[in-house]
């Protein structure tokens, strides 16, 4: 980055509402904070504030990477193309269809509406239907039919359509 671009950037930030701006490379890491970001912290009284917040952010970042490695997925791609993961909200067994003879709720390439059933999560003999929280296109199904899944495990990679 040359001096000119840098000054340019600074002028831009200066005029903005942001009171804090960070930018890293490669590959990217941006953080922007408005004044309100700090006011919020103040209101939350008990927690060890600003540093902790940052730490948690870093940690989440790290965690995500770990999970991704664990899950064997390529998040960078996903993130860049605006894809989103739909994760399991419980420990369960994953089923793509309501019964062994039925056809799956969704297939890769399907576009589904908000509220559409995506799969069954069976836990303690209870069949829980997982519904789409937003309209989306199924890009990838990340677990197999009948697979045991843990909390927070990514099940679908989707593109939001809203």
């Amino acid at each position: 980055m040359d001096l000119k671009s840098l000054k340019d950037l600074m002028r831009f930030v200066e005029k903005s509402q942001f009171v804090e701006f960070e930018y890293k490379d490669d590959e990217i890491h941006i953080m922007l904070k408005k004044k309100e970001a700090f006011v919020g912290d103040n209101i939350v009284t008990q927690a060890p504030q600003p540093v902790a917040v940052e730490t948690r952010e870093q940690k989440q970042q790290l965690d995500k990477e770990v999970v991704e490695e664990r899950m064997g997925e390529k998040k960078e791609k996903g993130a860049k193309e605006g894809l989103v993961e739909i994760k399991s909200p419980m420990v369960a067994t994953f089923y793509r269809a309501p019964s062994p003879t039925s056809s799956p709720y969704v297939e890769v390439g399907d576009e589904v509406k908000k509220g559409a059933t995506l799969c069954i999560l069976e836990a303690m003999k209870i069949m829980n239907e997982l519904e789409a929280e937003f309209p989306c296109k199924i890009e990838q199904i990340l677990v197999k039919n009948g697979q045991k899944v843990e909390f927070d495990q990514p099940l679908f990679l989707v593109k939001r359509l809203d």
Partner: protein, 447 residues
């Protein structure tokens, strides 16, 4: 023997159970919250299942998710550790339903023993000493005198419907009894609207002494000596030692015997702890803990045994690997609970361990789940390590503990290490001159 154990806990106790299981050749399954993704118990276990977000009630206390994790893992036994679900009979019943062994007492026993009044009544009936008192309110002065004489002085008069010290009177001799009773009645009436009063023995300088017991399915019940846990901060144990430095040999034997008797009377199985108060002469049963305890390594190190392995053995239907006669206390053992807390004010101090040197050498054991770089989460208990040392005498153990506290380097969070360094050099500690109120009075009163 079990093939695979799921450990429904986190932190050092999860690590402790994994260690025992590994040595027995049993596979291990860790469960963890998203917050604990990188923690030691997850790394050491053969498998790990995420059971929820950071908040304990949505993960480590979440019966539903843990139950499904048990089902998914294909384990055949569950170790609950301490805290969390370890004393929840419903969790035991879920394990039963899932066809896996809960490593601990059965659900019925756990439930039954949670009713403290009932336990006290059963033990009373069977001649096990509990804190003596009237079995209900005292209605007239003649029965007051009679009961008072039976219990002995000093006494505590308490308002049956009261609380918070109101209507409470310490009576040190008979001549004060009637006046105090009348005053207490008046005060109770004024404060609570009812003047019912009951009596309890007043234990002025109580020591908290507990006896570790373990029982198998073959009727063997043994004790693993006692632990003196008198040093507490607001009822939280900070330092434990064994043997207790205040028991005479005769009393010690009687205490051990009583604890085993109590376990028999209560029909207890697996590892448990009988807690007593000791007033310098007599001891009184207060409660039973139906799980392994934080301070179990004190007994392990004193007797050279492995309580977790025994728990697993016993749950798997094997006989205890030792008999009472084979158990001899070899050492004096002291444990300090190293918490990530401000050492003066004792408030939790979460953060990241940036530098770490763990003390070693002869007679030293450190149970911890932290390593260099570990994050201490604000969501869970602040205990980050248990430092346990043995010596051939209490004084050798004390000096070794001081040497270890001095060596222990934990950078990035404040810890209770400086507190213990002060505590262990006070004359009161050296001379055993303290009761359960000591730390609250001497250390918290002054700051």
């Amino acid at each position: 023997m079990f093939k695979k154990i799921l450990i429904a806990n986190r932190g050092e106790i999860a690590v402790r159970v994994i260690r025992a299981a590994k040595e027995l050749g049993i596979q291990t399954v860790a469960v963890y919250s998203t917050e604990d993704k990188d923690s030691m118990h997850v790394k050491l276990a053969d498998e790990a299942i995420c059971i929820g977000p950071a908040e304990a009630k949505k993960s480590y206390l979440h019966l539903f998710n843990i139950a499904q994790a048990i089902a998914n893992s294909g384990c055949d036994a569950v170790h609950p550790g301490y805290g969390f679900l370890s004393e929840n009979p419903n969790f035991v019943r879920i394990c039963d339903d899932l066809g896996v062994e809960f490593i601990g007492p059965d659900a019925e026993t756990m439930e039954r023993l949670a009713d403290k009044a009932k336990v006290k009544a059963i033990l009373d009936e069977n001649g096990i000493p509990t804190v003596p008192g009237s079995s209900g309110s005292i209605d007239d002065e003649s029965s007051l005198i009679e009961v008072a004489n039976r219990i002995g002085y000093p006494l505590l008069l308490k308002a049956s419907w009261g609380g918070g010290g109101k209507g409470m009177r310490v009576v040190r001799k008979e001549s004060e009894l009637i006046d105090s009773y009348r005053a207490a009645k008046l005060e109770a009436k004024a404060s609570f609207g009812r003047d019912d009063i009951y009596i309890e023995k007043f234990i002025e300088h109580p020591r908290h002494i507990e006896v570790q017991i373990i029982a198998d399915e073959f009727g063997n019940i043994v004790h693993i000596g006692e632990r003196d846990c008198t040093l507490q901060r607001r009822h939280q144990k900070l330092l434990e030692e064994s043997p207790s430095p205040v028991l005479k040999e005769y009393t010690r034997k009687k205490l051990h015997h009583t604890a085993v008797e109590a376990a028999k009377v209560l029909g207890y199985k697996n590892a448990g702890t009988m807690e007593f108060l000791f007033d310098g002469e007599d001891f009184y049963f207060i409660e039973i803990n139906t799980r392994i305890q934080v301070e179990h390594p004190v007994s392990e190190m004193c007797f050279g045994i492995d309580l977790i392995k025994e728990q697993i053995n016993v749950s798997a239907g094997y006989e205890l690997s030792f008999m009472q006669s084979a158990l001899k206390p070899e050492f004096h053992v002291i444990e300090c609970r190293i918490n990530a807390e401000d050492p003066d004010k004792f408030y939790p101090f979460p953060g990241t361990i940036e530098g770490l040197y763990i003390p070693g050498g002869p007679g030293v054991r450190v149970d911890t789940a932290v390593a260099c770089g570990t994050k201490i989460s604000p969501y869970y208990d602040s205990m980050i390590a248990k430092l346990i040392v043995r010596g051939n005498s209490r004084e050798e153990a004390r000096k070794r503990m001081l040497r270890c506290l001095d060596e222990f380097v934990i950078e990035g969070v404040k810890t209770t290490i400086p507190f213990f360094q002060r505590l262990l050099t006070t004359n009161d500690f050296i001379n055993n001159n303290y009761d359960t109120n000591f730390i609250d009075k001497k250390f918290l009163g002054s700051t």
